[in-house]
């Protein structure tokens, strides 16, 4: 466990996922990104690796090495990678796709700026769709971050160890978001979409209710009583996963 590796994994496993979601869903990028045909591989020496792919059928991401990257970026360390994600420090070394660096500097950077705008606290949205996308991004980040935090963060690892096994569904009842977090054989995994089996549920009345809770406008206890959220099933699973999720803001503000 180390803070730099944790941050690097969050960048690769969460932030890249959010960028893919913005490319797929945001009005400003949905059509534009379909015209891109790039696969970017990020590799930190002695650290994690991840990739994001833009293709006509949509954007996707994953960890490890992708098939047929068009741009391969080598970073000296997890620290170097984290600085790159903050637009600080030395640029990465392109070991492949040096001729496509302009994509990184323009389109990819613009996508990153858009993600920042959509997730900035207190931002004014132009329409309901934009606000819903922002809320989905927050929920996606929370779902995807749990396995990383559970493995890499000291307090979360303690919480994870004390968490009962099972599958927690996290969803909004208006169909705006659906995801799951599973603890099995001591290990957490997570994903988007409806899980096949459920042991516990954290349900939001709709995406607006989710936003109220996620932005802290209403406390979790109150949200339950007011009908904004509902928890049921194996509640210790929900309790501990919620506490793990709460710690994400320390790393991805």
């Amino acid at each position: 466990m180390g803070a730099d590796i944790l941050q690097a994994r969050l960048n690769l496993e969460v932030v890249l996922g959010l960028l893919a979601e913005v490319a797929n869903s945001d009005l400003l990028f949905r059509e534009r990104s379909r015209a891109w045909n790039e696969t970017i591989w990020f590799k930190a020496l002695g650290g994690p690796a991840g990739w994001i792919r833009f293709a006509p059928e949509g954007a996707s991401h994953g960890h490890g090495k992708p098939n047929h990257p068009t741009i391969s970026l080598l970073l000296f360390s997890a620290i170097h990678l984290n600085r790159m994600f903050r637009n600080e420090g030395l640029p990465p070394i392109p070991v492949k796709g040096i001729g496509r660096i302009s994509f990184l500097k323009k389109e990819f950077t613009e996508l990153g700026t858009r993600l920042q705008t959509l997730t900035r606290p207190g931002v004014t949205f132009r329409n309901r769709e934009e606000e819903h996308l922002s809320t989905r991004l927050m929920l996606t980040a929370a779902v995807k971050a749990v396995p990383v935090l559970a493995e890499e963060e000291m307090v979360c690892a303690k919480l994870a160890a004390a968490t009962p096994e099972g599958i927690m569904e996290i969803a909004s009842l208006d169909g705006g978001f659906s995801g799951w977090i599973k603890k099995e054989n001591g290990r957490f995994t997570s994903g988007l979409g409806k899980p096949e089996q459920v042991t516990a549920r954290m349900l939001f009345r709709d995406l607006e209710a989710a936003r109220i809770v996620l932005t802290g406008k209403e406390a979790g206890f109150a949200a339950i009583g007011l009908g904004l959220t509902r928890i049921e099933g194996l509640i210790p699973l929900v309790d501990n996963v919620s506490l793990i999720m709460d710690r994400l803001e320390r790393y991805l503000a």
Partner: protein, 432 residues
Amino acid sequence: MTERKDALGDQTERGEGFIYPQSRALLERACRVIPGGIYGHFGPPPCVPPEAYPFFSDWAEGARFRDVDGHEFIDYMCAYGPMILGYKNPVVDEAFRTQAAKSDTGTLAAPVMVELAEYLCELVPIADWAFFAKNGADVTNLAVMTARAATGRRKIIAIRGGYHGTTPWMQSPGHHGLIPDDWAHVIRIPWNDVNALKQALEENAGDVAGFISSPYHHPVFADNELPAPGYWDQVSQLLRKHDVVFIIDDVRAGFRLHLGGSNEWYGFKPDMICFSKAMGNGYPISALVGMESLRKDVGRVFHTGSFWFGAGPMAAALATLKELKRLNAPALLRKTGEKLLNGMVEVARSHGYNLKVSGEPSMPYLRITDDPTLTLHQYWCAECTRRGAYFTSHHNWFISTAHTDQEIRETLDICDAAFKAVKKRFGNGTAI
């Protein structure tokens, strides 16, 4: 009562129950001025689904309370333990009023404090002294500080899942407002695991100040567990061998199993016992009692509070303890609990469900075992509550001396109707 029975009929027909518009309106007001609306164990999260539960009540008497929407409930949470003789118990309330008419919170301690300490030292076999405060955590903290003062050591051994209040050292890692230092000197071991205790003592030899545990294991969200045969004897021997102070947190179970402390029920002698909850039948008071060997050490620890010398609650506690003795309350509670629980298990069986009872009959923990996700149990508790028997799903319940045969009969009728509703809604499957 008429209203509840009418509603019950409606529920059976339409699958509906009590609704709580006034409670909801009050919660909305509360949320504007109180973070979270209602905090702690009274907050909405243990109420699943929340719409089945009221959040505010404004009347209580005997074993019943009424919510702000006018629905009456037979209360099986008993204020989460403090109510043991029934709400508005005339003997206790009169003792409080009489004392308060003379003085309550004042500038000097009241004589009743001495009287109460003398009575506790007579009632509780291990007690050579008593110290009073307000909440359970006040005295679990004092017990731990006393253990550290007595031994000059740092570590405290506690049971995994055991609850001793919300002071940072008592909370599990990861809760907001805690830092790793808070739990750095707390070692958690499994319940009923003598080997784990032995290992913890050996690995931290010379550094363990105290061992704190409830007399039996009553965690939330899990079946309650009684001490295995010989467990407390072996624990006592190990603690004596390592010169570790032995603390029993009897805040929840105290005076419900045995008037001399729950350790007497199980046949062992700790060094200190923490009491609260039932001790004043709802009046705010807690006590730490202990053996002569710790008198000097507890006397050196500085621990106090603005309201800890309130004489009214002390008079109420004295009256409560005497009334509990007069009624032989632990035996009565056990008998009432057994009557209720045997009936409930039978009702469950008649609907094809297995209702598992664990813990002690005066403080039972129940769970429908047919659904590992616990959701079926949650919906059954909710259906009971909506019909007038107030059950939370994952905390032990409490029996009081005010629960009469009439209440038991009504409760069993409600349980029956609730099982019918659950069966109708979920069939033989799980609820999730």
